[in-house]
Symmetry: C2
Subunit: 319 residues, 2 copies
C-alpha cells in the first residue's frame, strides 16, 4: 500500500479542475481505496470545494429513481450545467447483475464530457452510504461540477444519510406505491425539500399529490421556512423535468438568502470530521484488528460481569 510513484496529487487535481474525466476518476478511486495519498488529496482539494449544489435523490424502490436521475441530467445539460452523478449501489451478493440493469440508461450520458458518472459501493451489506461518499463529493465539487446528484438504489439507511449530505433533497413518489400515510410512515415527509410525483400519467397521481399536500400542510413550518413544492413528472418521457430544475434553482436561491446553506454545510462538515475521528478511534479500539480491549469488555458484558456503561468508561480511560 505504498504510494505509487506515478501519482502526483497536485498534477491530478489540476487536470481534474481542467475537466479531464480520467483525472476525476483517478481521484475518486484514491478516495475509495483509502489510498495512502488520501490525506494529500483532501488537502489539495480543500480550497476548491463548496461551489456545487448537491442534490440527494431518494424514494422507495419502483418509483423510477434511475430514470428520473437520467432525465434530470439531460435537463441540466440542456441548461449547460456541468453535472456529477454518484450512484450508490448496495454491495450485495445480488447487485452484480440484474439490479444494475437500471443503470444502463445512464449510459446515454457516458460520452458527454460535461457529465461525470460514478457508481460507488455502499457500506457493508446493509445499504448505508460508503464513508467515502462525502470525499467523492468533494472531488466532483472541486472538479467544477455545478450540480452533483447522489442517487441510492433501494431504501434503508442511505435515504437518511443522503438528506444529511445534500443541499437539496428530492423525494420521489409514484402512484400505486402505497398511500400518503405510508409515505408518512416511511419518514420521508421530514427530509424532502422538493417532492416529485413521477409516473404522473398513471391513475392515482393526482391522489398522491393531494395526500402529500395535505400531509405537508400538517407540518407546522416556522415563518420564512422553505415550503417544499410538489412537481409531477413522467421521467421516461422527460416531462416535467424543466420544472424540477426550476424548483431546484429556487431552492438554491432560498438556501443562500436564508443562511440555511451555510448552516447545512457547517453541519455536514461537523458530521464529516466527527465520522473521520470516530473511525480512527474505532480502529484504535480494535474494530478492525483481531482481539482487543473492546472484545474483552464485550465478553464481560455478555457474561453479565460488567454493564455497558462501565465498559465504555474503561474504554475511554484507555485514550
Amino acid at each position: 500500500m505504498s504510494p505509487r510513484r506515478d501519482v502526483a496529487v497536485p498534477d491530478l487535481v489540476e487536470r481534474a479542475r481542467a475537466g479531464e474525466a480520467r483525472a476525476v476518476a483517478r481521484l475518486i478511486s484514491l478516495v475509495e481505496d483509502e489510498s495512502p495519498l488520501l490525506r494529500e488529496v483532501m488537502a489539495a482539494l480543500a480550497p476548491y470545494a463548496g461551489r456545487a449544489q448537491v442534490i440527494g435523490i431518494t424514494g422507495s424502490p419502483g418509483v423510477g429513481k434511475s430514470t428520473s436521475t437520467s432525465a434530470l441530467v439531460t435537463e441540466l445539460r440542456r441548461q449547460d450545467k456541468r453535472v456529477g452523478v454518484l450512484a450508490v449501489d448496495p454491495s450485495s451478493p445480488f447487485s452484480g447483475g440484474a439490479l444494475l440493469g437500471d443503470r444502463v440508461r445512464m449510459q446515454d450520458h457516458a460520452t458527454d464530457a460535461g457529465v461525470y458518472i460514478r457508481s460507488m459501493a455502499s457500506r457493508g451489506h446493509l445499504g448505508g452510504l460508503s464513508w467515502s461518499t462525502p470525499q467523492a463529493l468533494r472531488v466532483l465539487d472541486a472538479a467544477g461540477c455545478d450540480v452533483i446528484l447522489i442517487e441510492t438504489v433501494g431504501v434503508g439507511q442511505s435515504e437518511v444519510e443522503i438528506a444529511g449530505l445534500a443541499d437539496t433533497t428530492l423525494v420521489l413518489l409514484a402512484p400505486g406505491m402505497g398511500d400518503g400515510i405510508q409515505a408518512a410512515k416511511a419518514g420521508i415527509l421530514e427530509i424532502g425539500d422538493l417532492y416529485v410525483v413521477n409516473k404522473a400519467d398513471r391513475d392515482g397521481a393526482d391522489q398522491v399529490r393531494r395526500d402529500l399536500r395535505s400531509m405537508l400542510a400538517l407540518a407546522q413550518a416556522p415563518e420564512g421556512a422553505w415550503k417544499p413544492p410538489i412537481v409531477k413528472t413522467v421521467a421516461q418521457k422527460g416531462e416535467g423535468l424543466d420544472e424540477v430544475v426550476a424548483e431546484i434553482e429556487k431552492h438554491r436561491v432560498w438556501l443562500e438568502s436564508s443562511g440555511e446553506l451555510a448552516r447545512r454545510r457547517t453541519r455536514r462538515a461537523r458530521d464529516e470530521i466527527e465520522a473521520i475521528a470516530v473511525t480512527a478511534l474505532r480502529k484504535r479500539w480494535g474494530d478492525v484488528h483481531g482481539r482487543s480491549e473492546l472484545d474483552d469488555l464485550a465478553a464481560a458484558v455478555v457474561a453479565g460481569t460488567a454493564d455497558p456503561y462501565a465498559a465504555a468508561d474503561e474504554l475511554l480511560e484507555g485514550l
Copy 2:
C-alpha cells in the same frame, strides 16, 4: 436532575424480576429519560440479562407488521412464554394521531400480565432506533421475558439497526408490495433469519414466495449456515403463526448449537459499548453544548482553509 429520593434501584429491579409490570415500566422510563440513575440501573440489571430471545420484526410499510406482531404475541402466550414488545415509532410531527391507529389492536394484550408492551420514540425525525433501545431490551430481558419482539413503524435506518440488535430477524413481505427484485433492492435479503409472506390469502402470495426462494438460493451460504425458511401467514386470522413460532424456536436452537448466538451477542455488546463511548466523546466535542472546538473546525472546512482529515486530527489531539 438530581436522583429522586423515592427510587431505590435494587428494590425496583427485584420487583421487576418478580413480574411487577409497574416496576418494569419505571425502569424503562429511567433508561429513556437518561436518568442520573441510569448507570446504577444498568449495573443492577447486568447479572440477569442474556436469557431472552430477541426477535426483530421488519418489513416495508403495509405488509402488516403491527397485526403480525400482535398475532405472534397471541401465539407465544398460548405456549406460555413471557413476552416483551418494544414498538419503535418515528417521533415525527405526523405520528401523534392516525399513524398510531395500528397500535390499537395491541391493546388485546394490554390486560395480560405475561406481556409487557412499550412504545419507544425513535431517534430524531429520521426513524433510527433510539440509543436507549438496547438498554430497554436489557430491562425486559432481566425482568424475565422469554421472548422480546422489537417492531418498527416504517422503513429506513431502523430496519438495519434492528437486525443488529436481534438474535433472530423476521422479515415480512406481502403480495402487491413490489416484486422480488424490489425486495432485493431494499436490502432485506441479507438481514432475514426467517421470511414471512403475510396476507397469504391474497393473489400473488405464492409468486412472492417463489421469487424470494429463488433470490435466497442465489446467496451462496457456507456449509452449516442457517437457511432462512419462508412461512406463509394470514396474521389477521392468526393463520400460520404456530409455524412462525416453531421456526423461531428452530433458529434459537441453531443459534446456540452453532456458536452464532455468542458471536451475535458479543458483537451487539461491542456496538453498545462503542455507541456509549462515542456518545460521551461527542458530548465532549460539543455536539450538545453551543459553540465548540468542533464548530470552529467545521467552519474552517466549509471555508476551505482546512480539510476534514486535518480537522479530525486536531479534534483527536484534544483528547
